[in-house]
């Protein structure tokens, strides 16, 4: 019983570490006919000079720019207080890209 009780803080701190790890990962979600395409990157690793992480950030930026050129609208949807993004920001945790819309 006592052992079980003692193990609780260890699990909690592990969960906290996982949630902190998740927070530094960004995701770009582009809507498409197959659901949506997701590109993720780790900004902290990219800033530390990790080439793989930097490549992921560049790839996300390329897709973002390509979609913007096609007339898409990008939203920072990390929180409910979302905003429109004109430029790619690797610090943003979740970007949702809406394709170009037209009146029906």
């Amino acid at each position: 019983m006592g052992r079980k009780f003692l193990s609780v803080p260890a699990i909690s701190s592990k969960r906290m570490l996982i949630s902190q790890e998740v927070k530094i990962v960004g995701a770009l979600k582009v809507m498409s006919a197959s659901g949506h395409r997701t590109v993720t990157w780790n900004n902290r690793k990219a800033e530390a000079g990790d080439p793989e992480a930097q490549a992921a950030v560049s790839e996300a930026e390329r897709i973002f720019d390509e979609q913007k050129k096609r007339g898409a609208t990008a939203f920072d949807t990390t929180t409910r207080e979302s905003r429109v993004l004109d430029r790619f920001d690797p610090q943003v945790e979740r970007i949702t890209v809406v394709p170009r819309l037209t009146g029906g």
Partner: protein, 151 residues
């Protein structure tokens, strides 16, 4: 006869007891849950993926509302008293309530250039939701104003 009615009532209550927490917390539709087990067509998988993305953007209350009433309400920031009613999952029309009364509607669709531009229905709902909630000016500029048609 009473036994049958009691059985039906119990089944209904059991479904309700499952449905409400499921709507509040799950990010897949009930049919999507079955498809996860049984597989599915590329279209149904795209639908389920889009449904998951839509759920990520909704509050638990909005999820419940969408499942129970089939719509989400977004208050207008530009015109006080106006409310957008986004009907899910398969409507291109965003209806507008002015001071709670049906007034007019807006129609907005993804620009079609190829087959890949056809979005699954939940993605369409998400487009309308994000545009009305966070980019209302562009939404009003783009959408075509239509007369209200009762569903």
């Amino acid at each position: 006869m009473i036994e049958v009615l009691l059985f039906l009532a119990n089944t209904f209550l059991a479904l309700l007891a499952f449905e409400i927490p499921y709507c509040l917390f799950a990010r897949t539709s009930v049919s999507g849950l079955f498809r996860k087990i049984t597989g599915g067509t590329p279209e149904s998988r795209a639908y389920d993926k889009a449904y998951g993305l839509l759920m990520e953007h909704l509050s638990p209350f909005e999820r419940l509302r969408l499942r129970a009433l089939g719509n989400i309400k977004v208050p207008s920031k530009k015109e006080a008293g106006n409310t957008y009613v986004i009907s899910g999952p398969s409507s291109y029309m965003v209806k507008v309530l002015v001071k709670g009364k049906p007034s007019h509607a807006f129609c907005i669709v993804p620009e079609y250039r190829s087959e890949s531009d056809i979005l699954p229905d939940p993605d369409m709902v998400l487009c309308q939701l994000l545009m009305t909630r966070h980019n209302e000016r562009k939404f009003l500029e783009t959408a075509n104003r239509q007369i209200w048609e009762a569903a």
